[in-house]
Symmetry: C2
Subunit: 362 residues, 2 copies
Amino acid sequence: MRNNDRRARSEGSKAPSIYDVAREARVSVFTVSAVINKKGHVGATLSRRVETAIRKLNYRPNLLARSLARQKTQTIGMVVTDIANPFFPAIVRAAEDTAQKAGYSVLLCNSDDQQDKEARYLELLLAKRVDGIILNKTPGAFSASQRKVLADAGVPIVLLMRTCPGLKADLVQTDDELGANEAVAHLARIGHKRIALVAGPEDVSNAQARRRGYVKALEASGLTFDPTLVFTGDYRIDSGHRAGSTLLARRPDAVLVTNYLMTVGLMSAADEIGMRCPEDFALVSFDDYPWLGCFRPRLTTIELPKYELGETAVRLVLERIEQSNTRVQTVTLLPQLRVRESCGFMLHRRRMSMVEKASAGA
Amino acid sequence: MRNNDRRARSEGSKAPSIYDVAREARVSVFTVSAVINKKGHVGATLSRRVETAIRKLNYRPNLLARSLARQKTQTIGMVVTDIANPFFPAIVRAAEDTAQKAGYSVLLCNSDDQQDKEARYLELLLAKRVDGIILNKTPGAFSASQRKVLADAGVPIVLLMRTCPGLKADLVQTDDELGANEAVAHLARIGHKRIALVAGPEDVSNAQARRRGYVKALEASGLTFDPTLVFTGDYRIDSGHRAGSTLLARRPDAVLVTNYLMTVGLMSAADEIGMRCPEDFALVSFDDYPWLGCFRPRLTTIELPKYELGETAVRLVLERIEQSNTRVQTVTLLPQLRVRESCGFMLHRRRMSMVEKASAGA
DNA sequence: TTGTAGGCGTTATCAA
DNA sequence: TTGATAACGCCTACAA
């Protein structure tokens, strides 16, 4: 009696509703709904009539209305620093794929590592009633009121690559301490003594881990930690450039740069002051990309499994959406050292074989 | 009488609705709604009472319900080939920014250049009742039924970088014929004769344009078009690799690669067969990235204004959402040739100056 | 200026 | 198995 009457007019422009289908098929909306959602228990005859009506009217369920009624949007929000940072596209892509397979969509937000932007986006996601959130937290913690808001909303949150002080939530990350450790150990093994570090923001958990790995590997290799060989950047190109100008002037043997954008900055700084890699300094960079193996210097990198990160993040939110009572879990994926040329390994090998020849000749 | 009664219980978990606010503020939902939407004409007293109630209950409008009621989702769908293709992140980012400023969200979809995926995503976007769609069309046209579906839905569509046969819609693109033309003209100018082309899919408009630019520049430079020097790829790394294996064996002086991923593939192929750029062959690539200037060879590129692309695409959809009666428009942005080393310009200069010296000495 | 009530397009409960 | 009808939470004529 509510919807069935109006719109008797031959649909001027508006999309057909479930009522239109019901009328066309001479059944009730319930039946139509049951057919659409394959609830079974609908007679073959009616079922067929409904199918026909749907095709005839070109009916397409309004997902908005469905979400409102079901109290579930089949959408997960994802806020990352910046999709234009090449670290994220693969992760986002993986998240999209995984979500899609499970019938979910992904709403992407860029925080630019700014807390106010992040806050606004989270607000938006809550207002849109997303079923879950994947969060690459900006540096720093949430305020008490923010934490309360999030808790009250009761939306599952999965942290991505960065923990958040005071927020107990699922977490997907990579073992960055291990990654940095291996990188530095490798550099030390092939003879580098003065190993510099271009670190990420001090209040970002993965930056801390990378720093720890650096320090520990230094100790384990019997090298002394030199604070003047550490530059703290913000994971962006500019800071990498500044790091290069500062650090390279101190003539390190090698430098570990903890993300790709900073490596790009550092390399241009090196260009400007005429220093070459690996001849004048060795370099290992976090993050690997398909193009790093085919340009010079071929970068030695610590690859982070980006696709798995996105996949896992979505898997965790979905699990929590389905049953929120399970206990918080952390998934830590393994990085992988890919030795190429920038670390000076080839130079090292050549030196070694020359030494061998020399001693053989003696 | 419908919503106000239930939920007298002290909100167990559910989010407060506008009715809760109304009750708390002892006003009607209308008043609350008016305050929220700043419709003015609400007394100062009530207004204040409402504000207080909102804060107290931590009320947050349900955007789903609002969308359903207003018949407007403030969301635009964006379907691109693959966000993991480095060409897209900046565009998507720009779109996100621009949309956000206007109060819209962006729903991102990856078609992988597969028509069925594209179709499914378009279906999804329509079901979600997005207000507009930005489409980086897969190769090929829409079927008649698809065109009808899209037309019936009445959703504004803006084409991005690729036209769609049979679909009259707004379009943002770059002048790729010009870009390719300038690149090839430059190559010819510095002495390259046998210039190869790694083209994109034949049924993609921008690939056609790039091919046209190549051919015309060849003609204008008095060089003959050699079909064996043209390889048709699909804008992905693998096809670039195949292009490299095939084309480089024919010893071209130079090659124009029409996107970055194919350049990556071609460069690794070159590595494998021991050919170096620019010594053994010159190269110009479409798309520029911040990191192309600091690795060797420094790539000469045709930069496409990615940010403006995304920005313009959103601007166009928004315009059409607001008034759909304006006539279809095409925006063509200008590419920019960035001469670095891979095109052999430096080698050319050196040769030139040697010639000068030689003739001076004579 | 404010309130009432119906509509947005679904789902879901409860009878029949 | 079906049908009527009340949510879902918001907007918005139409009244008051």
